[in-house]
Assembly symmetry: C2
Homo-oligomer: 406 residues x 2
């Protein structure tokens, strides 16, 4: 059998330097089921990281739906098919938005499309994002994603997360001073790459300010959508917002490439008139079948309720652990999405210690990662069927890793 | 049963105005198999249009590969998996490029990524495309896709298709005069949206000019790749080119969302160093399984050879028809990709007559479309298992439509 090192060498040669691997000791997975991934020796890894296979790895209902559709028909949206219309109606019903749904393949494409629509609707180009935002990898979206570390476009302004009304007002003023009209304020409703910040008390005021300036509020629900936060289907609903455009992705098809936007009718109207939009694979019958199955499973298995219940249980456990371990400075979370800040003995953010914990967990077969401006925030966001027993296993392993670090 | 008109009304309400439908009488498909699509009444339509299900609608080998992978594992490229490495090696072997493969979900994303890489590598921003080029729908790619009819970016120049060295030299001079350094010349190797132009005798000279100016030659193989042209696996090989970056999409996964690029090592190096690239669904195990199955079927069923043979047969038939019908002014094609110009009694390009032929064919259950600057070029590009019998059926129906038009 090929060793992990041999495969890594082949991979580097074939894929090149832009591809990174997780963990000091990268792991080679052979199969997945529920909240577990298994390496080639059959060792089980508890998955507390992957929010894409949100209803569980290799969920049979998703597989069956995709297989049945692949055997029947897979075309595109320029022919009539019923599935995409049924799904769009179902998706729209989960939002309090009187508008339309449009489909892409990736969250990057969804944000890119939202930006095109916002620019056309407002006549502006200015975009305000948070200081460590990540919204995607297209050319237009990468240059408004500060967390990528590349140069931002001149029409982009950043505000600290969670956003405060005063900072957003100042950013709008600064854009205007440079002759740039605001097109949109774009924010992840959980501020994941800013360090996972579920509390953002001024977001509603921000929304008002953005509208007064003629801009649109775009809620990026790629991380926070589809029941992840437990209490609500969509992260923006936790903040009592009414966005002009909502973008969605990652868990939408449980790993099948489907993403999209929902936008108010009046916002999308001009774009619909002047731009034909066609995404070859976007909303194709097979990906839509996966997405419909995801909604089915979310409902049938009460996964948002489980995210809320298990999330509360895990949060209590993490908070208890943080009380006993000064290295864990703060626990934040909503549903099954947590950020836990890691600090050194002086209380300073420590990306190094966070990485040591992430790698220590991996060596004990539990998968998490780190995020935030200093890379010092543990990012914990398991598939939604995570149970109390899984949470206990997680906490027990984390306890052991912390003990060894101390 | 819901009528087509009822479904169209629901669709317009759910998806909005940016979504278009093919044909004066849109068709509702229920299933597909091989080179046929079937409507809800079971009527068979001969598919002479769809190049995405390139190895045939609902090919069982693709379905089996996807299903098996969905049942086993579907993660992303930040964990090690063997499939994506094996496939990347296999894909690289089909190109004469010493470099790397990177994966996206759509051709738009592939061109967008190629543009980011070209800009970083060259330090330039200028892009030269053909006058009616289409390269995708991201913000950055839409504004260099003249066929969309939206405003082009200031750093974009167009040249008539097929490109001539003199025009490209003039475009480079004009960019430089405006202080813009050339990043890339980007061209569909079949010039599909320019009207399907398989002959481009000066492309090799263009490639030299672009290199001399410090730019990259990007071959967009979304339309012309994966054996479509019969004689060669890649369209650029027909022209004897050695592109710096090749972009691929549509038929890559027979409808599963996978696309990507192949680039020379030195071209991608700086991007790999300075930019981490992660596309959540890009090159995931399930889409890679589909893509590998497509290569398997292309080989096992000798589909490029079939494209060449059936293509030659169909081209002879089309040319014969054009001889008998002055409305068909010119037949161009390579492999199973044809453009047939439609003109009125005065010999002027007629988008109206082309639309009448497209709709007439649809009414007789044969699917084609139209393209080109005047919409007067019939676009004919069936799935690759198209046989001589299918070509006969196609020609017979086209003959009938032309007779009725006359």
């Amino acid at each position: 059998m090929e060793t992990v090192q041999e495969l890594i060498a082949r991979r580097d040669a074939a894929l090149g330097g832009a591809y990174r691997l997780f963990y000091a000791k990268p792991v080679l997975f052979a199969r997945g089921e529920g909240v577990y991934l298994y390496d080639q020796d059959g060792t089980a890894y508890l998955d507390a990281y992957n929010n894409v296979p949100s209803v569980g790895h290799c969920h049979p209902r998703v597989t069956e739906a995709v297989t049945a559709q692949l055997q029947t028909l897979n075309t595109h949206t320029r022919y009539l098919t019923t599935g995409v219309v049924d799904y769009a109606e179902r998706l729209l019903a989960t939002h309090a938005i009187d508008g339309h749904a449009m489909f892409t393949c990736t969250g990057s494409e969804a944000n890119d499309l939202a930006l095109r629509i916002a620019r056309l609707h407002t006549g502006g180009t200015g975009v305000i994002v948070t200081a460590d935002a990540y919204h995607g990898v297209t050319a237009a979206i990468a240059e408004l994603s500060p967390s990528l570390g590349i140069q931002l476009a001149p029409h982009v302004r950043t505000v600290p997360a969670p956003p405060r009304a005063g900072d957003v007002a100042a950013a709008i003023t600064d854009l205007n001073r440079h002759g740039i009209r605001l097109a949109a304020f774009l924010a992840d409703s959980l501020f994941s790459s800013d360090g996972v910040l579920p509390d953002a008390p001024e977001l509603s005021a921000v929304q008002d300010l953005v509208r007064e300036a003629g801009g649109l509020y775009i809620a990026d629900e790629v991380q926070s959508g589809f029941g992840r936060t437990g209490s609500h289907m969509w992260g923006y609903q936790r903040h009592g917002l009414a966005p002009d455009i909502v973008t969605m992705g990652k868990p939408m098809g449980n790993g099948m490439p489907i993403a999209g936007i929902v936008a108010r009718h009046d916002v999308i109207e001009e774009f619909g008139r002047s731009a034909r939009y066609f995404n070859t694979f976007g909303g194709n019958p097979v990906c839509v079948a996966a997405a419909a199955a995801v909604l089915d499973v979310l409902e049938a298995e009460h996964l948002p309720a489980n995210a809320e219940a298990t999330g509360a249980y895990l949060k209590a456990g993490l908070t208890r652990l943080a009380g006993d371990n000064p290295v864990l400075a703060e626990v934040r979370g909503a549903g099954l999405y947590f950020g836990v800040d890691v600090v050194d003995a002086d209380g300073a953010p420590s990306g190094e210690l966070a990485a040591a914990i992430v790698n220590g967990m991996r060596d004990r077969c539990v998968l998490i990662s780190a995020t935030g401006p200093f890379g010092h925030t543990l990012k914990i966001r398991p598939p939604l069927p995570f149970s109390g027993t899984h949470a206990d296993q997680f906490l027990s392993v984390l306890t052991g890793v912390l003990r060894q670090l101390a």
